[in-house]
Subunit: 202 residues, 2 copies
DNA sequence: TGACAAACTTAACGATGTTAAGTATATTTG
DNA sequence: CAAATATACTTAACATCGTTAAGTTTGTCA
């Protein structure tokens, strides 16, 4: 009997409908503009219907978070084809910041916002997030092997590069107005260049 | 007649009382736990009384922001006595992050939170914030003069160091749970060391 | 002492997330 | 095929939030 399959399918469609509209609201207007009632308006159901598919608002955002991390990972992967380890590492950093500034709400959700995942058991749920960090470490390792970087604690090196690009990203997203618009791109590019290059020995 | 003076004094005391309690609530429990009603409870007045002294909630936070920037500036100044320009620059960076992690709510307010100053006219009100950035640039200038740094666009150098320490600070504050507790201090110190040192030529 | 202004409170509005109780629809069972 | 039941959804309500309007108390000055 395909009847329970159909029901499961319909349920999944409803879940996706909710997530899609929540995501649109979120991307367009940011976290504080995603309200249960606004989502309900968009999907043309009553607000309480949402609670039949999600425990609460944070569960919706946990799902959006996973989607965001996937896109984030893809953005980083788009640069992994580069042969030269040094060039790749630089491109990696630039891709990181580029993703952040062109998807500010995703980035906010992933790394800045009061963690909507406070209720999540970390080890499993953050798998998608460590994936990109592992990629960075791999690239650093490659640089060491090719003599571009001296042999250092790879954790320190990775954290240093991460904190640098994260710093750029979050300044641009949260306090970008402090920097003249025309100056921002220049600053992003040259800062990554300047900061990373200092670490290279060749 | 000292009567209007007394009234003005009493008014100022009320303003300070409100700010003090708001600040305590804010430091202890963060932004979202500061509500007009909770402040009212603490000062033992009705919620609406607060509106006789502050236009709205954001005006209270604008005041807290100024106080925070002052403390921040002081924290940076506490390291300016150091003679050697290179040592001073490193200490500056460490002092920055130290302030941030030991005053996470201040730091959040200053550089991370959805700007509570959106209604403020930037040029004047951000004076207190550019003050510390000018200090950083001065220290960098000194390093150049002493041959510690090559002659670079000072704006790029300052932004690079800022984004690095800001990155460290905001990771620790917002996603510190991703890093083992025992590892954090090590990472902070060594990352600043590693990142900054790379920029020096001597 | 009475007029008036300042300080403060009570009550309410519209928004939020969320829950409890009720209704309509679809499926299963006799 | 009709009655029983489970599923999907809605209405109404609660407590909380920032904020406003209207009313009350208090203190100052003529």
């Amino acid at each position: 009997m395909g009847i329970s399959e159909r029901k499961e399918r319909e349920r999944q469609e409803m879940i996706n409908l909710i997530l899609d509209e929540a995501m649109k609201l979120f991307i367009e207007e940011g976290y504080e503009n995603v309200t249960m009632r606004k989502i309900a308006d968009r999907i043309e159901y009553s607000p309480t219907t949402i609670y039949l598919y999600f425990k609460d608002k944070t569960e919706i955002f946990s799902e959006l978070l996973n989607i965001a991390f996937d896109k984030f990972y893809e953005a980083q992967m788009s640069v992994q084809y580069i042969e030269d380890a040094k060039e790749k590492l630089l491109a990696h950093g630039i891709a990181y910041v580029k993703f952040a500034v062109s998807n500010p709400n995703y980035y906010d959700l992933m790394f800045i916002m009061k963690d909507p995942t406070a209720n999540m058991k970390c080890p499993d749920d953050w798998k998608t997030s460590t994936r990109t960090y592992d990629l960075l470490k791999k690239n650093i390792q490659e640089c060491i092997e090719n003599g571009y970087l001296e042999e250092v604690d790879i954790e320190v090196a990775a954290f240093t590069m991460w904190s640098h690009v994260h710093g750029i990203a979050s300044i641009m997203i949260k306090r970008g107005f402090m920097i003249p618009e025309a100056f921002r791109e220049y600053l992003i590019y040259n800062s990554i260049q300047y900061g990373f290059k200092g670490l290279f020995i060749k």
